[in-house]
Symmetry: C2
Subunit: 208 residues, 2 copies
């Protein structure tokens, strides 16, 4: 599939295009030129044309882009036309917060269950998703067509939970543990290193 050749930089911009186009859809704007989109997104117009040409263009010269069409097409490229079933491993405050994000649900990321070892939370549920004991994790993933595991355990538990996940059919790990995971090629990992991000902010303040 052509996507293989598409640079990470382009892929990282796609969700942002999707986000902006979603706002235009909400504002009932039907067409937009790459120039207008570039002003709005603070990316050059040629950059936008290049990026979208990776996926076959979508624009007619001089007519700009059909907003709704482009929004839906980028959504498809991002796989948002499919439902993605999620489990959250680590039902602490962060795990609970993620399970509660309506914007994830709205985009088809459905939290099916949370997992923990803490008896105080096991048996409860979050928006109908049960909190289960981690012993049930692998079986649950394989039997409930789970794509994505969200890792919100303390970093000391990261490797143990990861090796557990690798015993299942999980396709992707969304990693909040601030630990770099070692996984085989067929498992995707996206890291959210919150502390790193906060340190970069500290750096920019300090280096002024």
């Amino acid at each position: 599939m052509a996507d293989r050749d598409i640079s990470q930089a382009v892929i990282r911009r796609l969700p942002r295009y999707y986000r902006y186009l979603g706002e235009l859809v909400d504002d009932e704007i039907e067409r937009i030129s790459s120039g207008e989109l570039s002003d709005k997104m603070n990316v050059t117009a040629s950059q936008i044309r290049q990026d979208l040409n990776n996926f076959g263009g979508f624009g007619q010269q001089g007519y700009g882009y059909n907003v709704k069409y482009l929004y839906n097409e980028i959504g498809k490229i991002l796989g948002l036309d499919n439902i993605h079933n999620i489990v959250i491993v680590g039902a602490g405050k962060l795990g609970m917060a993620i399970a509660n994000f309506p914007s994830f649900n709205n985009r088809g990321f459905i939290t099916k269950a949370l997992f923990d070892i803490n008896k105080d939370v096991i048996g409860s549920n979050v928006h109908g998703a049960p909190v289960l004991h981690i012993d049930a994790l692998v079986k649950f993933i394989n039997e409930n067509d789970i794509d994505i595991a969200v890792l919100t355990v303390p970093r000391q538990g990261a490797d143990e939970v990861t090796s557990l996940l690798l015993k299942s059919n999980i396709k992707a790990i969304w990693n909040f543990t601030n630990k770099d995971l070692v996984v085989p090629e067929n498992v995707s990992v996206e890291n959210v290193h919150l502390l790193d991000s906060l340190m970069q902010l500290s750096y920019t303040i300090t280096s002024r």
Copy 2:
């Protein structure tokens, strides 16, 4: 200051160096060669030498790096030798989760207060940090030497809260709202676009 010339890519790697060196310090390892560090971090040894040379090297040829010293020096570069006072705007589940991260506290990022408009949470407190009404935000920032505001309000509130923050002496905004903020040059913004990150994961699964 030299930092001006240092590329974003290097700066983005610094917290990761700091994280790995912290693990080595915990393991009481005193010296490490750029080669060993590169194996551990999955970055080339020459990359590591280049990166650290931006800050004056730290290594003696053939002797490797003094782990504790390098850890502390990178900590200083990242501004972690200073306390950073934080406010969290949006005392929902995510705001509460961030206020509860011990690893932030341990690195000198101290949550001084949370702000919200929801009467149900105003008056409560999180680890001793009070939840206050947003009307008190600007005054609190200026009177309590606050560096960083964490933005965890719903995205519809992002612009309003940002313009409020810009009336204060805030130095940096850690933005979780999935909306790109418009701020003057003297205010740093670090975005954590959780939904974008999740969409990239969806893309990688889909494009297989």
